[in-house]
C-alpha cells in the first residue's frame, strides 16, 4: 500500500495512448508531405511548415459559427436546466430519485438515434409541421437552420448541465435558506444572495461540460443543419475520414480547437480542484 509502483502500468499506458498521440497531432500540424525533387513519382518527404496552421485562418467563419452556436446552446441549457436542478435538489426521497432517473434515462438511448428522431419531428412534412398543419399553420422552416442545430445541442447535452448543478445544489442546506428567510430576505434575495453564489461551481462545471462537446460536435450539425452549418468538428472529420483528406490540415485545425477550448477553460478556471471534479462525474 505504501508503493507508487501500482501506478506504473497506468503511467506507461498514459504516455503511449494519451501523450504520444497528442504529440503526433502536433507533429502532423507542423509538417507537410512534399514531392521529392527528382525522385520517383509519388515519393514524398516530410518538411516542417506552419502553412497548415496559417491555413486554418481561411476557416475563420466556421470557427466563429461553432463558437456562436455552442455558446448560444450553452446559455439556453443553463437557463433551462438551472430551475430543473433546483427543483430536483429540493424534492425529497422518492420524488428526487424518480426525477433524477428520468433525466438520466434518455442518455441510454443512442444519441444518433435521438437526433435522427428530431429530424423526423422537424422536417418540412415532419410531425411538428403536420401538427401545426391541423390548425392551418405553417409549414415552418425548422430543419437545416441554425436553430435546429442549437436545439440538437441543447437536447443532447442537457443532462451534462443538470447533473453538476444538481449535485452542487443538494449540498445547500435547507437551514441555510431558512436562515436567510428568517433574517428577512424575500424570495429574490434568497436566490441572488444565497442559492446563486453557492451554486457557482456547479454552473462553471455545467458550462464546460456542455460547451466542450457542443463546440466540437460534427454529427448534430450534419443531421439537423443539413450541409449549410459546417462546424469545426465537421472540418476535422472531413480532413481525416472525408473527401477533403488532408491529415496535416486536420491536425492543425485540431490544435486550434484544443487551444480554443483550453482558453475557455482557463477563463472558467475549472478542473483545477480535484475534489470538485470528482463530485461532478456521475
Amino acid at each position: 500500500m505504501k508503493t507508487k509502483a501500482t501506478a506504473f502500468p497506468y503511467t506507461i499506458w498514459m504516455v503511449i495512448f494519451i501523450v504520444v498521440p497528442l504529440l503526433l497531432v502536433a507533429y502532423f500540424a507542423f509538417t507537410a508531405q512534399v514531392p521529392v525533387e527528382g525522385g520517383l513519382a509519388g515519393e514524398t518527404r516530410t518538411v516542417f511548415t506552419i502553412d497548415n496552421i496559417s491555413q486554418v485562418g481561411k476557416f475563420a467563419p466556421v470557427l466563429t459559427r461553432s463558437i456562436t452556436l455552442a455558446a448560444i446552446a450553452t446559455v439556453i441549457c443553463l437557463i433551462i436546466c438551472y430551475p430543473i436542478a433546483y427543483i430536483i435538489s429540493r424534492g425529497g426521497g422518492v420524488y428526487q430519485r424518480t426525477l433524477l432517473m428520468l433525466v438520466m434515462l434518455p442518455m441510454w438511448m443512442n444519441f444518433l438515434l435521438r437526433t435522427y428522431a428530431w429530424m423526423t419531428l422537424l422536417e418540412k412534412n415532419g410531425l411538428i409541421n403536420r401538427f401545426f398543419g391541423l390548425f392551418g399553420l405553417g409549414p415552418f422552416e425548422m430543419i437545416n437552420t441554425g436553430g435546429a442545430v442549437v436545439l440538437g445541442m441543447v437536447y443532447n447535452y442537457m443532462p451534462f448541465m443538470i447533473l453538476p448543478l444538481y449535485s452542487i445544489m443538494t449540498k445547500i442546506e435547507v437551514t441555510t435558506i431558512e436562515a436567510a428567510r428568517d433574517l428577512g430576505a424575500d424570495g429574490l434575495h434568497v436566490f441572488l444572495r444565497v442559492i446563486l453564489p453557492l451554486s457557482i461551481p456547479g454552473v462553471k462545471t455545467g458550462i464546460t461540460m456542455v460547451f466542450v462537446p457542443a463546440v466540437s460536435t460534427f454529427i448534430i450539425s450534419r443531421m439537423l443543419g443539413g450541409g449549410g452549418y459546417l462546424l469545426i468538428g465537421d472540418l476535422i472529420d472531413l480532413q481525416f475520414l472525408g473527401n477533403a483528406y488532408n491529415p496535416n490540415l486536420g491536425a492543425a485545425i485540431s490544435i486550434v480547437l484544443m487551444v480554443l477550448i483550453l482558453l475557455c477553460m482557463s477563463i472558467f478556471n475549472q478542473f483545477g480542484d480535484e475534489e470538485e471534479m470528482e463530485g461532478t462525474l456521475l
Binding site: 501500482t6 503511449i16 495512448f17 426521497g93 428522431a117 466542450v212 491536425a251
Partner: protein
C-alpha cells in the same frame, strides 16, 4: 421538511414541459418501431415485424455483439489498471500526483473528436512502425484498424473514469484499519485483498459501471479507430442515418430502453426500501 418536498404547481408544470421535451424524440422512436411501413413520417399500421426481423438482421446483431464484447473487455482491463493506478497515485507526493492527475483529466476535458483523431494517428504510426519492423527485422506483427484498436482506445478513455471513482473511496478509507490488519499478521497482499478492496469496492463498481456505459455509448472515438470489420452499434447506426435507418434499429432501441427502465426502477425501489428500513432502525422516523 414537508414544505420542501411539496412542489408548487408552476414547478410541476415546468418539469412536465422539460420531460415532454426530453421524451418526445424517444416516444417517436418507440412508436415508429411498431410502424408497418418503413416510412419515418407516416404511421400506416401496427406491426411487430421489426422485432422479429431484428433477430435475423446479421449486421445489427453482429454490431451489437461487437459493442458488448468491446465494452466488457475494455471495462474489465480499465478497472484493473485504473484501480491499481489510483492506489499508486495516492502514494505519490503532491507534485507528482498533480502532474499525473492533469494527464488523467486530459481525455475527459479534451473534445472526443481530438482524442479520436489523435488515436487514429497513433495507430497509423503503429502500422507504419510494424510494417518497417517486418521489412527490416522479419518480425511480422499484423496490425490493422479493428477490434484491437477499438479495445485499446476504449481502455484508454475508460481508465480516467475508474480512477476518478476509486480515488475518493481511497481518500475516505481509514488507513489504520489496513495497518491493524498488518499488525494482526496479514501480509501486504492479504491486507490489501481483505481490507482495502472491500472498503473501496463501491468505487471500483461505480468505475466499472461508468466505463461500461461510456463504452457502450461511444461513437466519436470508435468512429475514428474502428476498421471495416469491427463496427460497433453506434457506428452502424451512424452509417444508417446517412441513408435510411431501418426500423429494426428502432425496435432494438425500444428493447434497450425498456430493459434500462426496468433496471432503474428496480434499483430505485430497492433504494427506497433500504432507506425506509434505515429510518425505522433510527427509530421514530423523526425526519419523515
Amino acid at each position: 421538511m414537508t414544505g420542501v418536498t411539496k412542489m408548487k404547481w408552476y414547478a410541476k408544470t415546468y418539469i412536465g414541459f422539460i420531460m415532454a421535451f426530453l421524451y418526445l424524440p424517444i416516444l417517436v422512436l418507440i412508436v415508429y418501431s411498431f410502424n408497418e411501413s418503413k416510412s419515418r413520417s407516416y404511421f400506416t399500421g401496427f406491426t411487430l415485424n421489426w422485432y422479429k426481423q431484428l433477430f435475423t438482421n446479421d449486421l445489427i446483431i453482429n454490431s451489437l455483439m461487437n459493442t458488448l464484447v468491446v465494452a466488457l473487455i475494455s471495462s474489465v482491463v480499465a478497472t484493473i489498471i485504473g484501480t491499481a493506478a489510483a492506489i499508486g497515485i495516492m502514494n505519490m507526493n503532491k507534485w507528482l500526483r498533480a502532474a499525473v492527475m492533469n494527464f488523467t483529466y486530459l481525455p475527459i476535458i479534451n473534445p472526443e473528436i481530438i482524442t479520436g483523431v489523435s488515436m487514429m494517428l497513433l495507430f497509423g504510426a503503429f502500422q507504419t512502425l510494424f510494417a518497417w519492423l517486418g521489412e527490416n527485422t522479419g518480425v511480422n506483427i499484423p496490425f490493422q484498424f479493428g477490434y484491437v484498436t477499438l479495445v485499446l482506445a476504449h481502455i484508454t478513455f475508460n481508465i480516467p473514469y475508474v480512477i476518478l471513482n476509486v480515488m475518493p473511496k481511497l481518500r475516505q478509507m481509514d488507513k489504520s484499519i489496513y495497518e491493524a490488519a498488518l499488525d494482526l499478521g496479514c501480509n501486504e497482499w492479504q491486507a490489501f485483498t481483505k481490507v482495502v478492496v472491500p472498503d473501496i469496492m463501491p468505487g471500483i463498481t461505480a468505475g466499472f459501471l461508468t466505463s461500461i456505459t461510456m463504452s457502450l455509448d461511444d461513437f466519436i472515438i470508435s468512429y475514428f479507430v474502428s476498421g471495416p470489420t469491427s463496427q460497433t452499434l453506434p457506428i452502424t447506426i451512424f452509417s444508417m442515418t446517412r441513408r435510411k435507418v431501418s426500423p429494426e434499429i428502432n425496435a432494438l432501441s425500444t428493447i434497450i430502453f425498456v430493459v434500462v427502465l426496468a433496471v432503474l426502477i428496480l434499483v430505485n425501489i430497492n433504494d427506497a426500501r433500504k432507506e425506509k428500513l434505515l429510518r425505522k432502525k433510527a427509530g421514530g422516523g423523526s425526519r419523515a
